[in-house]
């Protein structure tokens, strides 16, 4: 399509390209595997293909060796990641997922994730169709929330400016629908949909789909809660006199890397310029099809948009997008990101309704002793007339609460531990799921985070700055779901109890932290942090955040152009 051979990487195609190409538009032989009761898992190609339907095959890794000795296969199950553009879910939908989590998941939880949606963990094969049908009945699907496609589209969960959020959210939904796979495979396989005698066509994604995963956001400055630099394509909302007039388009962010492979690195997105609202879908499509045609299909480790930009050059890529969309980017409009955290507690919206942002540690909605988060959400869903919004920080907003219901919902939230009094440090800390369910995990993340934060809290107290906080993130592997590569202190799992320690991101999420020490224990990390936090408390300038301080003090060098200086 490009006609220019230099823009396409030649060579033997990666294995996944064969799998996609032979999959008959993502059907594979999934239906046959579902009837194989000898195993709870899927055969090799289908193992990959179910991701395009929003599921990952996982197992309880804590007991994998034990089961091998027991001559039992790993405790195979799937994790499902729902498609929920902008993280918006209705109370009716909430009640349905709450019940399914109770009845049919091994862990009984609803897990809010950094992709601003929820995941079910631990669903066994005999219940998989029921899961999709249950979701379908309330208007939720999980199409393309994983795999080499455009995944769940994020949107800033800005609770106060509800009309603005409504507009941005509408765009997130439109973009998600526009870029969705058109194959009927999902309906056929999971919903027992009728087999239609027409050939599937994928006008945007192509029959081989994208070279690699693709992530899109709609963001409302000054909030950067969606972390634009972790995403391939970002639409930065620009307003004029309180009206949404268009977007700055940021392309080519991404945090994933591979340990030991210096050809992989986290990268920030480039600003292509401003477009009017009417051009949004055309531009989204053009960025996706350019990446579809130019992305590296030979080496999956270099297949994401960020590497395509590095290889062909930002200007070449941008020119191609303009050509395909038949749109010229205008000069970008001014905007500034100031922070990424959610605003906890109640705020009044411009429409007179109220919004309550609840802090959910690790995004794990489950009943804990004295903290019945799941029962609390359920009780609220039973009376709430507005909606729920999941945030990209794994928290939950109870949005659009009418004045009449405010007191009642406030009481329920308090009684069930949804409005905990927690430190700023805990609010600014985040971890991915990791062990025991994630097959990629190399070290603990979610299970490690709460105690680690407690230690950091006591350091801050010890050094006389108990109300300060550091953006602290732990991710179990270099794929980076925990977005540690945009943290002031980022830990990347390397092995059991071992992490690479990165320092030097900033509050707004516009700087990538540099590796300070490789493959060290959590004890070593804590002792390093204790010392550095002590120095920061003494030597910091007015309002100087920890990430800025460690660069000024020369602890680590600033990462300016990661392609050149991330490993330097």
């Amino acid at each position: 399509m490009s006609g220019n051979k230099n823009l396409v990487v030649e060579g033997k195609l990666a294995v996944n390209e064969r799998i996609k190409g032979e999959s008959n538009f993502l059907r594979g032989t999934i239906a046959k595997d579902l009837t194989d009761d000898m195993t709870g898992g899927f055969t090799s190609d289908n193992f990959q293909l179910i991701r395009f339907h929003g599921m990952y095959q996982q197992d309880d890794r804590d007991i994998r060796p034990e089961r091998m000795k027991q001559k039992l296969e790993p405790l195979h199950n799937v994790m499902l990641r729902a498609r929920l553009p902008g993280g918006v879910i209705s109370p009716t939908q909430w009640l349905a997922i709450d019940k399914f989590a109770d009845d049919y998941t091994m862990y009984g939880s609803i897990r809010l994730t950094t992709r601003q949606t929820f995941q079910f963990h631990g669903v066994l094969k005999p219940h998989m169709k029921l899961m999709h049908q249950t979701l379908n009945a309330v208007g939720i699907d999980s199409i393309a929330t994983a795999g080499d496609v455009n995944r769940n589209v994020l949107c800033t969960s800005n609770p106060e400016v509800s009309y603005f959020h409504q507009e941005a959210y509408a765009w997130a939904t439109k973009i998600s629908e526009h870029l969705l796979p058109k194959t009927r495979a999902y309906a056929e396989v999971w919903l027992d949909g009728e087999k239609v005698e027409t050939t599937d066509v994928e006008p945007i994604l192509g029959s081989n789909y994208l070279p690699r995963k693709f992530k899109t956001t709609v963001v409302i400055p000054p909030q950067n809660d969606v972390d634009v630099h972790a995403n391939d394509l970002n639409f930065v909302a620009i307003e004029d006199n309180g009206k949404l007039i268009g977007f700055n388009v940021l392309v080519g962010g991404g945090l994933a890397m591979t340990h030991g492979d210096h050809a992989t690195f986290p990268r920030k997105a480039d600003n292509f310029g401003f477009i009017g609202l009417d051009d949004t879908l055309a531009i989204a499509e053009a960025v996706v099809t350019t990446q579809r045609d130019w992305g590296n299909r030979v080496n999956r480790k270099n297949a994401k948009t960020k590497y395509t930009l590095e290889r062909v050059g930002v200007d070449t890529f941008k020119a191609e997008v303009e050509k395909r969309a038949n749109v010229q980017f205008a000069a970008d409009k001014d905007f500034e990101f100031t922070g990424r955290g959610d605003r906890y507690g109640w705020v009044e919206g411009v429409d007179g309704n109220y919004h309550l942002t609840c802090f959910i540690e690790n995004g794990r909605i489950l009943d804990y002793p004295g903290k019945t988060l799941k029962s609390g959400c359920k009780a609220i869903a039973e009376i709430h007339s507005g909606e729920f919004r999941m945030t990209a920080n794994q928290n939950l907003v109870i949005a659009g609460v009418t004045p009449e219901l405010k007191d009642q919902i406030d009481a329920l939230a308090k009684a069930n531990g949804l409005m905990p009094s927690v430190s700023n440090q805990r609010k600014d800390s985040m971890a991915c799921v990791s062990l025991p369910t994630c097959p990629l995990a190399m070290a603990e993340a979610e299970r490690y985070l709460p105690d680690a934060v407690t230690e950091i809290e006591s350091m801050l107290t010890k050094h006389g700055i108990p109300d300060e906080s550091i953006i602290y993130r732990v991710t179990g592997c270099p794929n980076g779901c925990g977005r540690a590569m945009l943290a002031e202190v980022g830990l990347v799992g390397k092995g059991p109890g071992k992490y690479n320690l990165h320092l030097g991101g900033n509050k707004a999420g516009t700087r990538i932290p540099k590796m300070y020490k490789e493959n060290i224990t959590d004890t070593e990390i804590m002792s390093i942090l204790d010392e550095l936090i002590g120095q920061w408390a003494q030597e910091r300038q007015a309002n100087e955040c920890f990430g800025d301080y460690v660069i000024r003090a020369g602890v680590v060098a600033e990462v300016v152009d990661p392609a050149k200086d991330f490993y330097a």
Partner: protein, 604 residues
């Protein structure tokens, strides 16, 4: 007649047969005659396995080419596989045919039949073996590992120097193989993340060294003792059990199972004991020390008191531990005590037979002792007890696969009652009390009524829910070793798929290899309504009937009271529904099946 003796046929072959043989072999040279002798021995083994002597089979085998290269890989990622597959191509280009196998699919015991192996293995986490490699890695470091003096090997480690335990698993394989007497062809190479050139050099170095080995046909390789399926009479018996060694006692139900089922491996090394698939193993056990103490305490006796059993004098403690039946309960015990003591309670209990039975069922001797602590002597106690008898378990292994081991599938009987934990005699002994490496007295109990069909092409249907699976594991090992072509269909059931699928990974392997043609599973508690094997049989009735019409043998093992009866009813239903037979005709069909030895049961 006397003529025949001249040819040493001992009357086995009549003159006309001899004539045919003489004609058939006329003109053959010495090599051809040698080949014929092996061929005929093989034919004989097919007709009657008891006639096949190992040395005859090895005569055939020795005439085949010797020495092979097997490339074995194990890793979490595909890197080791990539290297292994590429290496196979390279070796083959150099004129050395090589086999590539994942450690996940490799039977550890197979290693003693190898001559040359190349191992490519990565290291996981903090120096542990990757999942696929765990079994082989553990096996080579265990007591079960065979000596490997004839094995030549090479090891390539894949790792990352930023980890503390760089290439630890490769190092382990190297050390373990060397310890077992194997010879390294080249020194181990430990590769860092960038492994391409080091791996290539390692491959070339090995090929250079082994090329001569594997092309020179003079290498004499000992042929492993061929499968001998006969239950050869040995000096060991029920009266004179062999003292075997417990090699492994492994729970094979998941951590959340409602059952505790163990896979038991016992070494018969140096016993000469041979068994066939279908046989049972008699297991003698020692009673639980705590239980013995409770019995002695209940009667206020002294463990050191002398008692006489037959012509042996021994301590009461010893007698109760080794000689007396304590984990079953029986009316004769109550009667003996009542007769001895005239205790009114015991006399009354004995008077009502029904009440006595109901009383005894949930109790062991220790419970009776606690309920009726009558005054008796140590000798009177021992005399009241039945002699301890061995427990029989269907053997879960074939010697063609496990050689001098015997495997069992044992459900641990354990429950809390009357204030303390009770265990089954043999199941508690094998599962929890006997340490690995300790001795256990065993003997083989032949069961000629539960045998695979003589013809390896005959299809087989096996119904074995719960521990009834045991003999079918033996059957499949045997058929695998025979390379039998007959179809095999397994029906298995248990409470939950995730927790109770006994030997799941082995069955998966047999399905993958094609040995098992069909598996029908019934996990009773995985859905609202309970589903059992008999329901699966009925569901699959048309196919079952077809198999039976094609001459399939039908086997049932497990619970006699409910399951076996329900399965038999299912079979009758199948004859009626799919064979269009009346109830009477169906009964006759089943009878005919049984008479033809095509319907065999091992139920308890």
């Amino acid at each position: 007649m006397s003529n025949n003796n001249n040819f040493g046929t001992g009357g086995l072959i009549d003159p006309s047969q001899l004539n045919q043989i003489t004609q058939a072999i006329a003109g053959l040279n010495a090599n051809q005659l040698t080949w014929m002798s092996g061929y005929m021995a093989g034919m004989a083994a097919l007709q009657d396995p008891t006639l096949a002597a190992p040395q005859q089979i090895s005569a055939v085998a020795a005439a085949e080419p010797v020495g092979n290269l097997t490339i074995i890989y194990g890793s979490q990622t595909g890197n080791a596989k990539g290297i292994a597959v590429a290496y196979q191509a390279k070796a083959s280009a150099a004129g050395i045919p090589a086999k590539v196998v994942s450690m996940a699919d490799y039977k550890p015991r197979q290693i003693k039949n190898e001559t040359h192996i190349a191992i490519v293995v990565s290291t996981h986490g903090e120096g542990e073996a990757p999942d696929d490699a765990v079994e082989l890695h553990e096996f080579l470091g265990s007591k079960k590992a065979p000596k490997l003096p004839n094995l030549k090997y090479a090891v390539l480690g894949l790792g990352d120097t930023s980890y503390e335990f760089f290439c630890q698993t490769a190092k382990d394989f190297d050390t373990r193989l060397a310890t077992l007497g194997a010879t390294a062809v080249v020194e181990r190479v430990d590769c860092d993340v960038d492994y391409d050139s080091a791996a290539a050099k390692w491959q070339d170095d090995i090929l250079a060294k082994i090329k001569d080995d594997l092309t020179a046909k003079t290498t004499q390789v000992p042929v492993a003792a061929a499968a001998n399926t006969a239950s050869v009479a040995s000096i060991y018996s029920k009266k004179n059990p062999f003292s075997g060694t417990l090699l492994a006692s492994q729970k094979i139900t998941g951590r959340d199972s409602v059952k505790d089922i163990r896979h038991i491996e016992i070494s018969l090394e140096d016993s000469g004991i041979q068994y066939q698939a279908g046989d049972a193993l008699g297991v003698y056990f020692l009673n639980d020390a705590d239980m013995v103490t409770r019995v002695i305490a209940a009667y206020g006796l002294d463990a050191d008191a002398s008692v006489t059993i037959g012509e042996h004098t021994l301590s009461l403690g010893h007698a109760l531990t080794e000689k007396c039946e304590l984990t079953l309960s029986y009316p004769t015990f109550v009667k003996a005590l009542a007769d001895t003591t005239n205790d009114p309670g015991l006399v009354a209990l004995l008077a009502d037979k029904t009440a006595l039975r109901e009383y005894l069922v949930p109790r062991q001797i220790v419970d009776i002792a606690i309920d009726y602590p009558v005054a008796i002597t140590a000798q009177q106690l021992v005399d009241a007890c039945r002699p301890l008898t061995a427990r029989l378990y269907s053997i879960a292994s074939s010697q063609s696969e496990v050689e001098d081991e015997v495997h069992l599938t044992v459900a641990l009987v354990e429950y809390d009652a009357h204030g303390f934990t009770h265990q089954g005699g043999a199941s508690g002994f094998l599962s929890t009390r006997l340490e690995e490496g300790a001795a256990v007295k065993v003997y083989v109990e032949r069961n000629d009524n539960f045998r695979l069909p003589a013809d390896p092409n005959t299809p087989v249907i096996m119904v074995g829910p719960g521990t009834g699976i045991a003999p079918f594991r033996a059957f499949m090992q045997e058929r695998d070793a025979q390379d039998a072509q007959g179809n095999n269909w397994l029906f298995f059931g248990n409470p939950n798929f995730t927790q109770d699928f006994l030997y799941q990974t082995e069955w998966q392997g047999y399905v993958k290899s094609g040995l098992l043609s069909k598996v029908s599973l019934a996990f009773s508690r995985d859905q609202a309504e309970k589903v059992y094997v008999q329901h699966r049989l009925v569901e699959q009735g048309a196919e079952v009937y077809k198999w039976l019409e094609q001459g399939a043998h039908f086997y049932v093992c497990g619970d006699a009271n409910h399951m076996a009866k329900d399965v038999e009813q299912a079979l009758l239903d199948i004859y009626q529904t799919h064979g269009k037979q009346t109830a009477d005709e169906a009964k006759k069909s089943l009878l005919a099946l049984r008479k033809a030895k095509r319907y065999q049961k091992d139920v308890y």
